[in-house]
């Protein structure tokens, strides 16, 4: 508790220094929102395990680090050819690279985009044309119950602004790559992404958060998404932070009528990774697939908080989260589904399955359904288990050794999550990342 208080004061005191470094040209509305946000944060403080939504994740390791805003750190030079580790092979994407939260023009490139599509650095938009984001920025993410979103609102500076006009399909995915490193002293960056899809449009956006070096750093990211009527979005979040890095991510999605959204939340890295996904159906006929995977090892913690708000009738949400926990790692799945009064004909299916591959690993799974309409189909299922010894024996009786059998069965456990990734190069990349985390087995490089 004292730790949380001290850390709070540190962040609050940094705010004044941070504000002085900003361009004088900062619009008044933004300066005002920052002040409100830091006041909100001051009121909230950092969550402790007494907070219902943070019951299973102790932030002490994060709170004892004296982070400084990354804007005060030295710029990092990253060679272009080393970005390959984070991109998707043959997949053609626009790529916006951010280093310690700041747009790196030199490393970024845009593929030809349909007319009217805007893919830009938020900092540049705030400098050159702030009115373009004045209404939307901060509108879709609540900060009064989310200390990290409040901090982000106070310190936000850069990130991606993606705007797709009506009746427009962007064929190639837009990849936002956030690389972090700290060097001398631990840095915190506050990426803020704003993704707006007009009516009858279609796009795919990938966010990758990765550690550039094995330093201690904090990425406090917020992504706001609005999907217009009859539009479709495929969204991927790949958390590949370094083993000493912290990731606190919040994504908030508003879905208009007849929208189709797929959110993949892939959490592989970070000492503590908190992946918050909050979605809301505002119009009828929407569909959502929330497809989550978390893999932890060592002393990693992955905390997945999701909330799906059925505020409109006749929408369908399918949520599938799977966790594989190794060594002494910890995992959390906290899945909330709210069906509001009048949201009839809602279909909501939630599944969380966890595989413990070490006897010292631990996972907490808390499904939460709050159903206030009567004509709905809702279900949830949650399991925590180990590999099936009968299945291991079966494979071994066919000549496959025990280690390989465990490898195959571990991969098989998450195959359905991986198979939800329809874009082949992304799926292949994901496969490789997953297999690199499983015990290596000669002759079994291909996936089951």
């Amino acid at each position: 508790m004292a730790l949380a208080l001290d850390a709070k004061e540190t962040f609050v005191s940094e705010f004044d220094a941070f504000v002085k470094t900003l361009d004088r040209g900062q619009p008044d509305w933004l300066a005002g929102r920052r002040r409100e946000a830091i006041a909100t944060f001051r009121k909230l403080g950092f969550p402790t395990t007494k907070h219902e939504d943070w019951k299973y994740t102790n932030l002490a390791p994060l709170l004892q680090v004296p982070f400084r805003p990354a804007i005060l750190g030295r710029p990092e030079r990253i060679p272009q050819e080393q970005l390959e580790a984070y991109t998707f092979g043959v997949l053609k994407t626009s790529l916006l690279v951010f280093v310690n939260g700041r747009y790196a023009r030199r490393l970024s490139y845009l593929r030809p985009l349909p007319e009217g599509v805007r893919v830009a650095s938020l900092a540049e938009v705030l400098r050159d044309e702030p009115e373009a984001v004045e209404v939307a920025l901060g509108r879709r993410v609540r900060i009064d119950d989310n200390a990290f979103a409040a901090l982000n609102a106070a310190f936000l500076q850069d990130g991606a602004f993606v705007e797709i006009p009506k009746n427009t399909t962007v064929e190639e995915p837009i990849h936002l790559l956030f690389l972090s490193s700290s060097r001398d002293s631990p840095l915190v960056s506050y990426p803020r992404n704003l993704i707006l899809l007009g009516p009858r449009s279609r796009a795919a956006v990938i966010e990758t958060y990765a550690g550039w070096s094995p330093d201690v750093y904090l990425t406090d990211a917020v992504t706001e998404v609005a999907v217009g009527p009859a539009s479709a979005l495929d969204h991927y979040t790949m958390v590949r932070e370094s083993e000493a890095g912290f990731h606190m991510g919040t994504m908030s999605v508003d879905q208009d009528r007849d929208t189709s959204v797929v959110c993949h939340s892939i959490s592989l890295g970070g000492k503590i990774a908190r992946n918050t996904v909050i979605t809301k159906f505002h119009g009828e006929g929407g569909s959502l697939l929330l497809n989550g995977l978390f893999m932890t090892e060592g002393t990693q913690q992955a905390d997945n908080y999701t909330r799906i708000d059925h505020a409109a009738p006749a929408c369908t949400s399918v949520e599938l989260y799977k966790g594989i926990l190794n060594d002494r790692s910890r995992g959390v799945f906290n899945g909330n589904i709210v069906v509001r009064p009048g949201a009839q004909k809602t279909v909501a299916r939630q599944t969380n399955k966890n595989l413990l591959v070490s006897k010292d690993a631990f996972v907490d799974s808390t499904p939460g359904l709050e159903i206030l309409a009567d004509d709905v189909k809702c279900s949830h299922a949650s399991t925590i288990g180990q590999l099936d010894e009968a299945a291991i024996f079966y494979l071994r009786t066919r000549g496959i050794d025990e280690e390989a059998s465990r490898h195959i069965l571990t991969y098989a456990f998450i195959a359905d999550v991986v198979n939800q990734v329809k874009e082949a190069p992304i799926r292949i990349k994901l496969d490789r990342l997953i297999l690199s985390r499983l015990p290596r087995v000669a002759g079994l490089e291909e996936t089951p």
Partner: protein, 253 residues
Amino acid sequence: MLEINGLHVRIGNKEILKGIDLSVRAGEVHAVMGPNGSGKTTLAQVLAGRVSYEVTAGQALFGGKDLLAMKPEDRAREGVFMAFQYPVEIPGVSNAYFLKAALNAIRKYRGEDEIDAMDFVSLVQERMKLLGLDESFMKRGLNEGFSGGEKKKNEVFQMAVLEPKFCILDETDSGLDIDALRLVADAINVMRSPKRSMLVVTHYQRLLDYVTPDVVHVLVDGKIVKSGDADLARNLEKHGYGWILEEAPGPAP
């Protein structure tokens, strides 16, 4: 090929096999019959290497090697195959991936190269025909959502692809309709060869109508109480196990 001497096995505190002696020579098909609970499946599983069974006495030599000292995977690589009574469903692993992994593990053990992709496809297609399996089969998850009959066919199909020296068939006939039974029996007969032996564990005569055994053993209460030729199986079908239990020494179960 397989020499079992004085084999005692227990699960927990319960002794299941109480001194089994069995000798199967190359090319022979032996049937092990017996009432429920007599230890048939235990015998099959212990030969395949299931760990929850504790061998308290006796030995099993396979080609002169101590079978019971080997890991399950090494038994398979040496050429022992058991068709499970209840095959496990493994969603997320395709039949194709699984079979290739198994085949290559066995080849590697024998110092052979991994099978060429084209050779694998043609081998698999040929064996699929044997069991009347269709093209989609290889892409499906291993036994995932298979009917009882499909699972049993898959066991025999795997056996046909892996070409073991010693095949243990544990109640392979149960759950098969008459057409499937015939297909499975034909496949087993195709695989009979002077170099391959089989141990057919079954409660009923059904499968033995098609796969004629060289030797039939009757297992009662963990012991082989009678051995004979194929006529013994037919007698059991006609008269049940009662007359054997009366003849058998020791307390009736």
